[in-house]
Symmetry: C2
Subunit: 515 residues, 2 copies
Amino acid sequence: MSESSYSNELPVGRPPAAKLTATLRRLGIDTYQEAVIYMPSDCDVCRSEGFESQSRIEVRLKGRSITATLNAVTQALLGEGEASLSESAWRSLGAREGDVIELAHAAPLESLGYIRAKVYGRRLDQVGMDAIVGDIVAGRYSDLHLSAFITAGADDRLDADETIALTRAMVAVGDRLHWPSPIVVDKHCVGGLPGNRTTLILVPIVAACGLTIPKTSSRAITSPAGTADTMETLAPVNLGIPAIRKVVERTGGCIVWGGAVRLSPADDVLIRVERPLDLDSEGQLVASVMSKKAAAGSTHVVIDLPVGPTAKVRSAAAAEKLIARLTIVGEAMGIHTRCILSDGTQPVGRGIGPSLEARDVLSVLRRDHGAPQDLRDRSLRLAGEILEMANKAPTGGGYAMAAEVLDSGRAWAKFHEICEAQGGLRTPEVARNHRPITATHAGHVAAIDNRLLSRIAKLAGAPSDPTAGVELHTPLGTLVERGQPLYTVHSDAPGELAYAMEYVGDHSNVITIGE
Amino acid sequence: MSESSYSNELPVGRPPAAKLTATLRRLGIDTYQEAVIYMPSDCDVCRSEGFESQSRIEVRLKGRSITATLNAVTQALLGEGEASLSESAWRSLGAREGDVIELAHAAPLESLGYIRAKVYGRRLDQVGMDAIVGDIVAGRYSDLHLSAFITAGADDRLDADETIALTRAMVAVGDRLHWPSPIVVDKHCVGGLPGNRTTLILVPIVAACGLTIPKTSSRAITSPAGTADTMETLAPVNLGIPAIRKVVERTGGCIVWGGAVRLSPADDVLIRVERPLDLDSEGQLVASVMSKKAAAGSTHVVIDLPVGPTAKVRSAAAAEKLIARLTIVGEAMGIHTRCILSDGTQPVGRGIGPSLEARDVLSVLRRDHGAPQDLRDRSLRLAGEILEMANKAPTGGGYAMAAEVLDSGRAWAKFHEICEAQGGLRTPEVARNHRPITATHAGHVAAIDNRLLSRIAKLAGAPSDPTAGVELHTPLGTLVERGQPLYTVHSDAPGELAYAMEYVGDHSNVITIGE
């Protein structure tokens, strides 16, 4: 049997299309992270290739390539031969106005077969996870595909082996740091709690004890401040791998933004999709944490698990299950893992927002009178655990050793040294406008809504205005008089302060005062 | 315990935002069906409300409301106070240039809780299905949410009771037709096969026997022609419910476009998402078919299941399982259901494309010499089955009765009558350009690639050019000489013909000739 061929003389009329190209014009549409290509619906390329809205198109430029979803537009927005890209796609291709992109039908996504197999009840092995994660990082998955992957592995649908395979796949597609020291320690907090900036205190304590702790942190995604945002008010955090290496060689530690290095880049894509779905996936949570730690070259990790009704982990039982999985996967990646349950019912320290949180950190490091004791205590517990794991302190003696290092001023000196190595210690700026919110009657503070406080801090301008945020004066249980300030809103811009105050006026349940 | 209130005098500066509004400007961006709202990232409303890309926003206009995903844009594209909507959102709100929309944070999607519960292993009951389908039809689900719902119910994850609940929920959110006749018959084909236009032949046969058959059909989504596109070359199909009722009262049947009536509107949303995921879901397939039939008021339905390697149903075993589920759910909805397996290995008839398919239909109805026997035979089988189900023919006598009605000319007369009632019988137009593709060597036709033939028909312009398409001359097994035409490409536009012919030149495996 052989294949037939055809008499295929071309008819008169339009000549056959040459290589498919389009000239880029920036429309500046931000789809967050989904890659979208905009083209006129009746352009030659769309007609010849049968491209229509929702088609998946491979876009090539200067040796890079992404897969984008087509949104057809009218010729009023883009002319014949023109195309545009969503902002994230524009950036990931390094595009410039007028660049000529090459277009092709996206190849079928072979890795979807593995997701289908998982949905149909089979287990995902390393080959499948590698294929899926490879396609995710290459930007070949649409939101539909990402959501299907997350749903297929949600709850406890990924077993320990599958979680390990996912973790390995996520490490494999990113950069990896290597350190000369046989022990490299690290810390992670599952599910943010406003103001929980223990990292900036425990890193200098641990480094002052001679341990290596190259800490990478994230910026805020939906919160008023990430650890990297807070640290940035005190020193530069935007360091590449060679600069990080130098800082750690000199001081033993660093506190830098993880986004400048490419550790577990698949994680950022998955996190974006998990949030609006609000589907808990133990396997993906564990792979997210452990892939970042493994890529950072860590050997010993302590994990802070705040437990509370509005925290990520809501009960001790849920925490126990998560701890077991974190430990198993950690060991498989060659990482000794210890988890610490902590209170997740109220903010830590007083400040919410980059500069205000930095002020809390400085007052603890400088042993100021009135420094927030909860922030100090949490930091010492975590640092103590690390010192014990790494055999710097005897079992049960870690907290005391950490306290000694802090109280002697050695931690503050080390923090200073790290900031200088990262580019110089800065003094956090202070907002120009403050507005206190006072109690309308006497009583005790019975409840604090973390979510509303974070929202007010964001409306006031945090984190893009680092001085903006909320200063909490009265933690849970405080007895207050009528007219006593409960919290103060900080903002540089009067307009943003007005928005935040309007929100305050509309929400009387930020802090509940019992009789 | 009571709630506190606050001293909330507003600071000087910007006044508090009034009701959130924006003025519409049409950018003409087609996201297919996903609702997207475009606003300048630094506009007052976005800043005051904390709206950012991927925020879900409720958009209200003239008493209608949808939920849209925000894509922030630069001020170059939209000015302060302006917003735009994706084309589908624009249409569903009935928007006009300059309309003022009201904006609000979308309420949390309570129904996601039911999807989460399903993912976590619980079953979906009627309350849950009603909530989910209600939110889907109201446009409150993003692609992420839709994909999670489909994945959670994929494969056989929806049991019979859940499938029935989904079917009932889908019927409840749409329109419903009611007929005076106690027996209302209908037909459905699972998974399209090019040229399989049995509907246009069996409807007049069945109606000529005195049965009521109000048939709604779809237009092409990805194929070169839907049944409604083919019928439209013969008579108007865009009829509302009152017009449909009149046609059926007068003639017993109709063949109209289902999109003009709102039967099971959730189905259209789910189908759009299922396609790119390519996840089989027995429950959703069955609910899709049965919700449309129940909404149309059908009491007896015959279902054509083409089985073949490139068809939707690939094996007899898969067909058996599907038949069992269709029958159970049909009975629960009060619909007597019979399923017929048929050959799914090659196109039916000769034409692919609206006018060419209509020509096949006419030649069968008119008993032309050389009318395609496969199309005639399939139509008679299905019509016979309906006649037996409805007790018009004795068991085993349906096919003969259908053949008698067709051969006597009564079916052709009834078809004429139906077309006149729908607005007048038309003669399908013929394309101006034809290009035969000939065999390069002698042999027999060993394989036909349905997918490639459909692609060529689409490139030639089908279905938007109804005359465009492919005319197949040599079904499987035909002995051909060198130079004998295998198929002919039809197109009105020389440019589109050129594109189709270029594709033909690049693909030598459309029809495989054995030695």
